[in-house]
């Protein structure tokens, strides 16, 4: 038997297709910008973590006048020291390569006096460990110059962390702006559908039932628009990522996203749909409480 009443009637009680499409496009733009900002934030967090992991927990020891045996002895004693996870002298060929931009092939000349560099990886990046190991190096080789990489990396790290905070702030602002848009849309919807809502109230609808109509519509608009905006944003992020990879820069290359980051970005439309649902409920129930 053909049904006389439609099961979708509840979903169609608010009939405003054009308004819904406009809302979806607004949400697409909001999510596009939000995902880009979030990607920047996650990328900078990743870069900061990479800096901490790779450089901040490292010391460079410079010996101006030392023979190979003395260097090997120092390296062995450093490896055996507490707080040191690895120690290795930088090979002369590698040093020459680093100096090639300034000295050219002259850097390969065996007679050219060149300081010896020892990379020391610390077990942790804490100040206490770095200080202990530095003291030990000075006791073993008083003429050694010890550079803690974290010191010259501090401004870079600070800049990267600032970028992360900025991105987080932008995401927060976008969430607030989305909530404000939903509040305005819900209030406009209440005005548009005043007659329908009055009828529903007179038939015994509760505020929560009426609110659900708006919640469902706004959540759907946010989800559809958000998904479109997110797809474009993720494609943009992937494109930028591929360009960054071609730069072959250790510093910029740290701005990578792992699987967890991509998952967070892909989940943003769902998070915003939930936020929009909550905002719609607050707006509608709040407004309905003012009428009988």
């Amino acid at each position: 038997m053909t049904r006389v009443s439609s099961g979708t009637a509840g979903r169609r009680l608010l009939d405003d297709g054009r308004r819904a499409r406009a809302m979806s496009w607004v949400m697409a733009v909001m999510l596009f910008l939000t995902v880009l900002a979030a990607a920047l934030g996650l990328g900078t967090i990743s870069a900061a973590a990479g800096l901490d992991r790779q450089l901040a927990g490292r010391l460079t020891v410079q010996l101006l006048d030392a023979d190979d045996a003395a260097v090997a002895r120092l390296v062995d004693r450093l490896r055996a020291s507490p707080g040191v996870s690895a120690a290795a002298a930088v090979p002369r060929e590698e040093m020459a390569e680093l100096l090639r931009p300034w000295l050219g092939d002259a850097g390969l000349d065996a007679d050219l006096p060149m300081p010896v560099m020892i990379d020391v990886d610390l077990a942790s990046g804490s100040d206490a460990v770095a200080s202990d190991v530095t003291s030990r190096i000075r006791s073993l080789a008083p003429a050694a110059r010890v550079d803690r990489n974290a010191r010259w990396l501090a401004p870079v790290r600070s800049f990267i962390v600032s970028l992360a905070w900025l991105a987080g702030g932008i995401v927060l602002l976008m969430a607030l702006a989305t909530s404000a848009i939903v509040l305005l849309a819900a209030r406009a919807g209440l005005d548009t559908h005043r007659d329908t809502i009055d009828v529903l109230h007179m038939l015994g609808s509760t505020d929560v039932q009426v609110s659900r109509l708006f919640q469902r519509r706004i959540a759907l608009d946010t989800l559809i628009g958000g998904a479109i905006g997110t797809v474009f944003a993720l494609a943009t992020v992937a494109l930028i990522g591929s360009r960054v990879a071609t730069l072959d820069s250790a510093l910029v290359g740290g701005f990578g996203l792992d699987v967890g980051d991509w998952t967070i970005l892909a989940a943003l439309p769902i998070a915003f749909a939930l936020l929009a649902t909550l905002a719609a409920r607050i707006a509608v129930v709040g407004a309905l409480r003012r009428v009988l």
């Binding site: 006389v4 007659d195 009828v199």
Partner: protein, 240 residues
């Protein structure tokens, strides 16, 4: 004062009720009456006399400015807002302007009270078909209200009002847009509902209708005051 007979409970009780919109003059003043459960009432009066305002108080679309209203044995004036939906589901309303939802089909409009009450689609199907047949519009189930005539819209509005088997039906000028034959048919629909135990209140200024229902009571409102609060008047008055 009142119509309550022995053993008959009052479904509605008004005591010195007044209603004022904003800072204007009182639309209703010192209205006192009782409605007996299961009885049939006509509310008459000229346009602007206060019929619709009185009905709004009955179906809880307005709270009075003063006075006492008891509905289903409870104080309706101080009733918490959260309890209004439960009370409204016990009252069927036929609005003067129908208030059908234009983008829903006739069947979906009729089904609305059931959906509001949480009745499933499967369980709503049979009552909706029954109501469509009851008002003679089975063949117009999928028509949208703008494509229906005034009389058809009115019948859909009546079907929507009674599908939830309300304890009280309030109808504001339900025969205002139909020809005399249809008016009589609609009135018989109300009468058959009344026989099932529903208290019916019909506001009308159509004096031809008033004596069509046996045992119906008549209340007349003039200038916001009930001139016949006992509802014992007949039109024309019964012969001695």
């Amino acid at each position: 004062m009142g119509l309550t007979g022995a053993g008959m409970a009052n479904i509605v009780q008004f005591e010195n009720v007044g209603l004022r919109y904003g800072t204007g003059p009182e639309t209703l003043s010192d209205v006192s009456f009782t409605l007996a459960t299961g009885a049939f009432y006509f509310l008459t009066g000229a346009s602007g006399a206060g019929k619709t305002s009185l009905l709004k108080l009955l179906y809880l679309a307005q709270r009075p400015t003063r006075g006492i209203i008891r509905l289903f044995g409870e104080d309706a004036v101080t009733l918490p807002r959260a309890r209004l939906p439960g009370f409204r589901r016990r009252i069927g309303v036929v609005f003067q302007d129908f208030r059908l939802i234009p983008h829903l089909s006739a069947a979906d409009n009729i089904a609305l009270p059931l959906r509001v009450s949480g009745v499933s689609e499967d369980d709503a199907e049979a009552p909706v078909r029954e109501m469509l047949a009851w008002v003679g519009l089975s063949d117009r189930a999928n028509a949208k209200p703008p494509t229906l005539s005034g009389g058809e819209q009115q019948r859909i509005a009546i079907a929507r009002a009674v599908i939830g088997r309300p304890e009280m039906l309030v109808a504001d000028e339900p025969t205002g847009n139909v020809d005399p034959d249809m008016a009589e048919r609609l009135l018989h629909l109300f009468e058959s509902l009344n026989r099932l135990g529903t208290t019916v209140v019909v506001a009308t200024h159509d004096f031809q209708l008033l004596n069509r229902i046996s045992n119906a009571h008549m209340m007349r409102i003039e200038g916001g005051r009930l001139s016949d609060p006992t509802g014992s008047l007949r039109h024309p008055p019964p012969s001695p």
